[in-house]
């Protein structure tokens, strides 16, 4: 005779262990963590392909594929027999050539089914962290030198002060010292109290002004702008780690220069030729008006295809030298019309002359998205060696 079965039909109010956490969700998070790490190994691709600018968010969305837990499997066969059900007779054709068979593989696993993709959301800060580790860069320090801000800093102790600045540890120490001599003295007297002092001190400047200038003449293609935009974006992320406060200015030019806000800047399309001095001149004007070099660390990044008017050579050179004397670093990114002639252009020549004269500057060629990675690495490594030097 069978024993009767038992039935447990719980009320909704009861709490069960399985309400406390979801194992499925736990293992799913672990999967995502592993994917995140796998994504990290593809940092150069990520940097090059992330459509990051303009979104205004602090994250990048990266489409990834689910990880597969591999098993021994037979090779996909040329022909596979199966059994179906329904009205069909021998010789009937049920599928057409070219129709991709998207049937999920049945069996022990659930892996391999197509159907939906995973979009991983990565924090820009994390990516920059990875970048830093990948490039083995030390943390950059703000430039010192003549540039200083004034700020209150803690320095020393005083016997008088506001209650909130009482240093308990220090006061106790004083009390102990006193009682070594005077064993029966009171636990604390006013003379034991020590208060932290604040004084005004000059600090290394933590403000930066970053100029992004771009040639928007008709010879700059959409692709060129996109490359420049990527480079600008990652450079900006790197500088953000270095300075507490960053202000930006965007200058576009053809034969003339205009200042724009960020969103307009990448949309601007001009016509006509390229006169770089117009932009450099405007940068100098803005520095004079808004960014005192004794307060700001100044950076200029300039993107162009390099085809500057030859007649503009002297004007552009002198204008650039003027910026250089006020700035920490000048970066030139070229999106050359032909790959093999990268950095042999008129504009590249101007920057080269500046570097040879001892100006802190660098030139990078952006021929394709892969080159963005190389350029960024080059830029940050320049920064580190500048600092060491």
């Amino acid at each position: 005779m069978n024993r009767p079965s038992t039935f447990a039909c719980y009320e909704d109010q009861e709490q069960h262990w399985y309400d406390l956490f979801s194992r499925g969700a736990r293992d799913w998070l672990r999967h995502n963590e592993k994917i995140g790490r796998a994504v990290r190994e593809k940092l150069p691709e990520l940097i090059a392909n992330a459509d990051v600018l303009g979104s205004g968010e602090n994250t990048v969305k990266v489409p990834v594929r689910f990880m597969e837990h591999f098993r021994f499997r037979l090779r996909a066969p040329e022909e596979q027999n199966g059994v179906g059900q329904g009205q069909a007779k021998s010789g009937d054709k049920l599928g057409r050539p070219g129709q991709e068979k998207k049937q999920g593989k049945k069996g022990a696993g659930g892996e391999g089914e197509g159907g939906f993709d995973l979009v991983l959301e990565l924090k820009i800060d994390d990516i920059v962290d990875w970048l830093w580790e990948e490039l083995k860069l030390p943390n950059l320090q703000p430039k010192s030198g003549g540039m200083r801000d004034e700020d209150l800093v803690r320095e020393g102790w005083n016997r008088r002060g506001a209650r909130s600045r009482l240093d308990r540890r220090r006061s106790l120490k004083e009390a102990l010292k006193r009682r070594v001599v005077d064993r029966d003295g009171p636990a604390f007297i006013d003379d034991d109290l020590r208060f932290r002092q604040l004084v005004m001190r000059k600090q290394p400047a933590t403000k930066a002004a970053v100029f992004f200038a771009m040639d928007v003449s008709s010879s700059m293609r959409d692709r060129d702008r996109k490359l420049a935009k990527m480079f600008f974006f990652w450079v900006m992320q790197g500088l953000r780690r270095q300075y507490q406060q960053i202000e930006t200015a965007f200058v576009a030019h053809t034969v003339k220069a205009w200042e724009f806000n960020e969103s307009e800047f990448f949309e601007v399309r001009g016509s006509g030729g390229t006169v770089a001095s117009s932009a450099f001149g405007m940068v100098n004007d803005i520095i004079r008006e808004r960014f005192d070099p004794s307060e700001y660390n100044i950076y200029l990044f300039y993107a162009s295809d390099g085809e500057n008017f030859r007649d503009d050579h002297d004007a552009a050179s002198s204008s650039l030298s003027e910026i250089s004397s006020a700035a920490n670093y000048l970066g030139y990114v070229e999106t050359p019309a032909s790959e093999d002639r990268a950095l042999e252009t008129e504009t590249a020549e101007i920057f080269k002359t500046l570097m040879e004269a001892g100006g802190a500057a660098g030139s990078f060629a952006l021929t394709d998205t892969d080159a963005v990675w190389t350029a960024i690495r080059g830029f940050f490594q320049d920064q580190v060696s500048e600092e060491a030097g």
């Binding site: 079965s5 194992r23 022909e79 329904g86 009937d92 659930g110």
Partner: protein
């Protein structure tokens, strides 16, 4: 005061026992749908953690959201058996499910494959799996997630590579290690038996078992657990835990069509007899029955898959109609899907059910073919051979500890997927800690040796 699930369930049981169902007592539990979903994904209510379950979980979740799957019950054989029902299903639905579970419970107590696996691994798989999960959790605490995960990557990848014929508990000493040396040399045997003497001592600097020839060992989990040169105790523990669960899963896998068909037969039969159900509940339950036991092609002209519930149900109905209930009880005790399909899916029945065989080519063409009932049966069974996995054996260990695996491509008809194989070899190498190789054939049928990058 209406009837509760317990009332209906106990009435169903009484009815089932009158009709000859024989099973260990069951513990029924109604659980939230979210938990049912996890049970379906993990195969067991509490199971070891692994990221691959997370992937299956998301698929399940999405499918569920799209309304493509409904979960009614999961039942674990054992003494007591444990059945989980979805809370929130209607009383009529869950009453039907209780009847269905009784069918499964009868099957798992009496079917030879289930009986054997329970005798070997015990009658409390739910608790045992929970204990495995617990031990793995403490291993994670002690050795870190990464290390434990590496072992699980390898062990779960080899999940299907066990040998249920050789059994769960195997004596290590009786393995024919070094048969070529030992068997033909009586002196050596006598020498080895001397007190204090150890032949093939491990102090000669060789790997234990190195150079040994094994009899084409198919139980890779067992083999690695016992012969891996530097496997630590806790790692072996994980391999053996995964193996034990595989032994549990095997009969479920190998009897799916029979078992589901049997349970469907019984819920239908019990429902017909259940005079304690109101008309409304009866109609609801019958509707659920026809949703479950329905050919995939229903409502469409053709489907490229056959519903195992429907197939099993129809074969059982035919057997009972033609051979009687007594014979049906015998078949449920003796057969598995292979013998069930080969013996009882007759040509007439296949025609009645509109089953057809087709050939799908890689270019997308699907052509209906008629190669006779024998081939149709084999096509149904094709995915079930060898626990659904390619036939791979451990062939030998070299003196340097390299493990050679060999794929029996003749049996399987074609070679392995090379990319996936290399990945699995990498998993295995991390626990074997020596090179691991695999012999198979490529697309052209030419021999191909793969090896882990070591």
């Amino acid at each position: 005061m209406g009837r509760t699930l317990k009332d209906n369930g106990l009435s169903m049981e009484a009815l089932g026992q009158d009709l000859g169902l024989d099973y260990y007592p069951l513990h029924f539990e109604e659980v939230p749908e979210s938990f049912m979903m996890e049970i379906a994904v993990y195969g067991l209510p509490v199971r070891m953690p692994h990221w691959s379950f997370g992937v299956r979980y998301i698929y399940q979740l999405v499918q569920h959201r799209m309304g493509n799957s409904r979960l009614y019950e999961v039942v674990y054989p054992g003494n007591p058996g444990r059945a989980y029902l979805t809370k929130g299903n209607s009383l009529a639905e869950n009453t039907l499910v209780v009847a269905h579970v009784l069918g499964h419970a009868d099957f798992s107590k009496n079917n030879a494959l289930f009986k054997r696996s329970q005798e070997e691994i015990g009658y409390r798989i739910v608790e045992q799996a929970a204990a495995h999960a617990q031990r793995i959790a403490s291993a994670i605490e002690e050795h870190g997630e990464e290390k434990v995960e590496q072992v699980l990557d390898a062990a779960l990848a080899l999940e299907a590579h066990v040998d249920t014929f050789k059994g769960m508990r195997r004596n290590l000493q009786k393995q024919p290690t070094n048969t070529s040396v030992n068997s033909n040399c009586a002196f050596r045997e006598r020498y080895r038996d001397l007190p204090g003497e150890q032949l093939q001592g491990s102090d000669d600097g060789q790997q234990p078992g190195a150079g040994a020839i094994f009899s084409q060992e198919q139980d890779l989990l067992w083999f690695i657990a016992n012969h891996a040169p530097e496997l630590e105790g806790w790692e072996r523990d994980i391999f053996l835990a995964v193996r034990e669960e595989s032994f549990y899963f095997y009969p479920v896998f190998a009897c799916q069509i029979m078992n589901e068909g049997w349970a469907c037969h019984w819920h239908a039969k019990l429902l017909r007899e259940a005079d304690f159900l109101s008309d409304g509940d009866y109609l609801d339950a019958i509707k659920t029955h026809s949703d479950v036991v329905r050919p995939h092609a229903a409502g469409r002209n053709v489907s490229l898959a056959a519903n195992p519930y429907h197939l099993g149900f129809c074969i059982w109905e035919k057997i009972i109609e033609e051979q009687g209930m007594e014979r049906a009880f015998e078949i449920r005790a003796e057969d598995d899907d292979f013998s069930f399909i080969r013996n009882y899916l007759t040509e007439e029945l296949a025609a009645e059910l509109d089953l057809f065989e087709y050939v799908a080519k890689s270019d997308g063409t699907v052509e209906v073919v008629d190669n006779g009932i024998a081939e149709l049966r084999e096509s149904i069974l094709a995915s079930k051979f060898n626990f659904g996995a390619p036939v791979v054996v451990a062939d030998r260990i070299d003196v340097d500890g390299t493990l050679h695996l060999v794929h029996d491509h003749k049996t399987d008809g074609r070679g392995l997927d090379l990319r996936r194989t290399e990945k699995v070899l990498e998993y295995v190498q991390r626990v074997w800690r020596r090179k691991v190789t695999m012999d198979t054939v490529d697309a052209k049928g030419a021999p191909r040796a793969l090896s882990s990058a070591a």
